[in-house]
Symmetry: C2
Subunit: 282 residues, 2 copies
């Protein structure tokens, strides 16, 4: 396994792979890898000749008061995990190499960036779309793997790739959960044991919402969120950003659910912001 820090070197290698007709699978990450990431890596490993994992804590997707500086960076451990999973290249550029002096270009996916997390994290998805556009140009993947836990991010990347005619297939990968149901996230490392215990109520709440949807042919969203809220509200000291029943294509709120919906929540436990969702199909 190779570790590459230079964007130019990454791109030369990617263009050589392309000329050699090799298909590349990219798993873009911010590091602090967990089993969720590794499930993406395994899928990429199965579907491509070359697997690249990018590890880059992207400053442009953090707000000024967010956790950019304290975001975990266990680079040596991440590399070991990648090596064991059969990754060919870990691409880990510096912020100044990815955002050179005078950087002035931004990719925005406008409507999809407004609801859900977009309303609470201004500029976040612009930072995400921009860095992923860079990574696609540097790594030239045939397929790129995104976890459904970051459902809005995944939708935005799908839209960007389609709108800009990028020659890459975006592969949706299911959420992985710990035995208590908590969706795997690098930010779970911030949680104290009691907070972690309490955070399990998030997936319980989303499952309760799903039950309401599945047991009605049509149901007002308010009934769905009420079921989830009755569980979420028990989390001590929890602060809710949103609890939304949304159209899975537009991410806009649904007033009435007819079987197919995204139930999504974002909330704070202590200083940790957690998100989770369930895509309900009937």
């Amino acid at each position: 396994m190779k570790t590459i820090r230079s964007p130019r070197q990454m791109q030369s290698l990617a263009l050589a792979w392309r000329r050699a007709g090799k298909t590349v699978g990219l798993v873009p990450t911010m590091g602090a890898l967990h089993e969720g990431h590794l499930s993406l890596v395994r899928r990429a490993r199965a579907e491509n000749e070359i697997v690249v994992v990018s590890i880059f804590v992207n400053p442009a997707q953090f707000g000024p008061k967010e956790d950019y500086l304290r975001y975990p960076r266990p680079f040596a451990k991440d590399k070991r995990l990648c090596e064991r999973a059969g990754v060919n290249v870990v691409f880990s550029p510096s912020p100044s190499a990815m955002y050179a002096e005078g950087h002035d270009t931004w990719v925005t996916v406008e409507k999809l960036s407004r609801p859900l997390c977009g309303a609470f994290r201004p500029g976040h998805f612009r930072g995400v779309a921009t860095v992923v556009a860079k990574l696609f140009n540097l790594v030239q993947p045939a397929r790129a793997y995104f976890g459904m836990k970051d459902f809005q991010q995944m939708c935005i990347i799908e839209r960007m790739a389609e709108d800009l005619h990028m020659p890459v297939k975006i592969v949706r990968c299911p959420i992985l959960r710990d035995p208590g149901g908590l969706a795997l996230s690098s930010r779970n490392a911030y949680l104290a044991p009691q907070e972690r215990q309490a955070a399990r109520n998030i997936s319980l709440a989303l499952r309760a919402a799903e039950e309401v949807i599945k047991s009605h042919a049509r149901v007002p969203s308010a009934k769905v969120t009420a079921a989830a809220w009755s569980i979420l509200r028990k989390i001590p000291g929890m602060r809710l950003d949103y609890l939304s029943v949304a159209d899975p294509a537009t991410l806009e709120p649904l007033a009435l659910v007819r079987g197919r919906a995204l139930v999504a929540a974002a909330l704070w436990i202590g200083n940790t912001r957690l998100i989770d969702n369930r895509l309900v199909r009937n």
Copy 2:
């Protein structure tokens, strides 16, 4: 020579060329080709194995009151000119194929889009950057050719390509002029004979500005623009958008010129908006 309308077909061919190790030169145009375009095509022909000319009147770069509908579209003639110049593929997609239902992604180069034409054509450069990003993904060029008449556009594309790490070299091509000095432009076709005659004063004015710069080691911009204005003002019925002495890298106005500057003008003669510039090096 092949004419391709489908973006998907264009991309398949481009990816096949890439696998075959062929270098592609792209000349993006809105059609209504003149000698200026053809000079770009000839340069592309000399430097690449494959030459693609895109012909696409991009709706996203026209304002609601601009000339999108009346923009000239002499497609049969354009194709003949391309064929004669040794072009391999004319790529001419439909607006609905380039901007599919639900299109929501925009590329912006923020600071460079503000001065000069940016102040008069809101959204114009966002439309330009977005369509060029699409074209680069569809055609996969190693080199793309831009005329210096659209100096701000060229700078924005250069910035975008660098910032997003696009694997393409942007090639700057000099302005071509008619025997009277008028910079070649598809919009010159809008001019009545007397207007065309009057329009020659634009290049005379810019040359006068250049003379002032070249004859002083340092000179206030106001003296430079005064020399140009004394000529421009003679054009009957002319309306000025701007006459600017700018830093050729940032495009921001210079107060004092020390030998290196962009002198740029945009103005209306009748219903025709014309732009021209001179890049002055000392």
